[in-house]
């Protein structure tokens, strides 16, 4: 049955898509973008199917090459994987629709390599998420990273330097991860995640394990842009082409977080990283500082994309905070926030891209009258921003509710305060935009409606609607996440 091969088809379709793109590009350049959309759509559909299968029939294990793990590479899909897969593939799919016009303007004449890299990035990220083998994770991380460096470097004049710095940081991160994997391998002899999790308890107390954990945590934190290691993120997101900022904001950092969760809670056991060696609680404190620092820095920005980038730093803090608190509720909130932040940030970056596409404006104080000029786009922006603030009934509210509740459950009042305070800070930096966009324009100025093209508007609106729908029916994803969380945490 072909459905048995779903996990690998997800990736192989991407590979084939990427390998074909140069050939398609030689025939007709214009076909590259629809081709990328088609491939990512297939990946999205497969990941939906996978999620459905995992929920109904339980975890999936696929042996590549037919070799039984730990000798061969295994694709292991459980609810967490499938959930993140759907998010990543969904974002890749919708941004690919959006990107046709946006990238057509910002990176003209390079459709072929651009969409090849686009598909490779998408495939790389999906590969990271779906795999059950820790070295395989590294390989796919590199595919995705290289594609990401290249895509970022296609932005404006400063983007090359941003990309270079990202590459340096990314290589440090990848090398650290490789070293962590090496330490684990040297001490256990295995590379399979499930197998490792059986072997690692024998190493408890060994300094090697500590160093390995430290390496993996630092490496993944760089990829996730956790607070003190976030320095590459603002530059990269500001200068990258808008569609790419949207894509990366919604997916790549989330994949990093996924990997962090996977390594900490599946490979190494929760009880070890929480109680014996309080790695996770250290991370929560960093995350808490990051939440506030990110918000404050976002307030100081006037470039809309840069502001959104700093806001990402803060939002990533939420996720790590939830995961690090490691009780049922906070963890659910944290994982739910992966979904909600993807929806919100991708939507917002797409709006920023649409504004830049139509007017070229990046400074938020020059956005006067935009509410009349691009009513639907800005309407979507309002929805996204309200969700960031955490106004019900949006998905951002649902995840903040769970995070705050989880912090309370953990008895940590500082974090409760941080979470709630940060939503006020978020309100501050978004409200500046509202004021400029909707108010202070007088009747005398006639503003012509000049909406973004349909292929950009459609994904934007879709994300706004999704934010609301997911907010109204948040118990659905929460129930799904809970199944996984209760399976992992005692």
């Amino acid at each position: 049955m072909i459905t048995d091969h779903l996990p690998i088809l997800l990736i192989v379709i991407g590979f084939f898509g990427a390998f074909f793109t140069p050939i398609i590009g030689m025939i007709r350049k214009e076909l590259c973008s629809p081709w990328a959309t088609f491939i990512t759509m297939l990946q999205f559909l497969i990941s939906l199917l996978l999620l459905y299968n995992v929920i109904t029939a339980g975890n999936i294990s696929y042996w590549l090459g037919g070799w039984q793990p730990p000798w061969g590479i295994e694709y292991a899909v459980d609810i967490l994987n499938a959930f993140v897969l759907v998010i990543v593939a969904g974002v890749c799919f919708s941004v690919s629709i959006y990107s046709r016009k946006s990238l057509g303007l910002e990176v003209p004449g390079k459709e072929m390599p651009l969409y090849t890299l686009y598909i490779l990035l998408s495939t790389g990220m999906l590969g990271i998420v779906v795999t059950g083998d820790i070295f395989n994770l590294y390989v796919f991380l590199e595919i995705a990273s290289l594609a990401a460096y290249a895509l970022i470097a296609l932005g404006d004049r400063q983007s090359r330097m941003a990309s270079f710095n990202y590459m340096i940081m990314g290589t440090i991160s990848a090398s650290f991860i490789l070293m962590g994997i090496g330490y684990l391998y040297v001490m256990t002899g295995s590379l399979n995640m499930a197998d490792l999790s059986r072997l690692i308890p024998a190493l408890y107390g060994s300094p090697v394990l500590l160093v390995a954990i430290a390496m993996l945590v630092v490496g993944l934190s760089i990829k996730t842009a956790l607070f003190p290691l976030h320095t590459w993120l603002p530059d990269a997101y500001t200068h990258a082409p808008s569609a790419i900022s949207a894509l990366l904001a919604g997916t790549f950092t989330k994949v990093g977080i996924y990997a962090l969760i996977r390594v900490m809670f599946t490979v190494i056991s929760p009880s070890y990283v929480i109680e014996t060696v309080p790695v996770m609680s250290m991370l929560t404190w960093l995350a808490a500082i990051g939440i506030l620092a990110g918000s404050v820095l976002a307030i100081a920005q006037y470039d809309i994309k840069r502001m959104l980038a700093y806001s990402s730093v803060s939002q990533i803090g939420y996720i790590i905070l939830g995961v690090g608190l490691a009780n049922n509720i906070a963890m659910t909130g944290g994982i739910l926030h992966i979904l909600s932040h993807s929806l919100m940030k991708v939507g917002l970056f797409m709006v920023a891209g649409a504004i830049i596409y139509r007017t070229g404006i990046k400074n938020i104080y020059q956005l006067k009258g935009m509410g009349k000029k691009m009513p639907y786009t800005m309407g979507a922006f309002v929805v996204g921003a309200l969700s960031m603030i955490g106004i019900p009934p949006t998905i951002g509210f649902a995840s903040k509710f769970y995070l705050a509740w989880g912090a309370l459950e953990a008895g940590n009042w500082v974090f409760v305060v941080v979470i709630l305070l940060s939503s006020l800070l978020t309100a501050v930096y978004f409200w500046r935009i509202f004021e400029n966009v909707y108010f202070g324009v007088h009747e005398t100025e006639e503003i012509k409606k000049d909406e973004a093209p349909l292929s950009m508007l459609l994904p934007i609106i879709a994300f706004a609607v999704l934010i609301l729908l997911a907010g109204l029916f948040a118990s659905l994803p929460i129930e799904v996440i809970k199944i996984w969380v209760t399976g992992v945490l005692p």
């Binding site: 070295f135 390989v139 590199e142 391998y185």
Partner: protein, 118 residues
Amino acid sequence: MVLELIFTKYNYIIYITLMTIGFYGMIGKRNLIKKLIGMSIFQYSIFLFYVSAADVSGGTAPILLKEPAVYVNPLPHVLILTAIVVAVSTLAVGLSLAIRIYREFGTLDEDKILELSK
């Protein structure tokens, strides 16, 4: 204790030292190509770690011989083959970025570039 460490595990100390040198090259140097060389050294040090961990004293290279023999562990070699290719790919990407930056700014000095791009 320390002597024992040095005599049985000197490979690790060496790899860590190399890694630190590479790390310094990445964060302490301002020239982009120097940074890339540092990056390569950084990566190579990890390869050294893997390969030395695979070594078995008295073993032979992992190519099957007619008569039974002790082989060194082949798996890290495979991983490192992969990683070397990744390293050279990263180097190529980094160099192309550096060239592109040089074309735009006329310099490879990080500080100067940051100044120019303000």
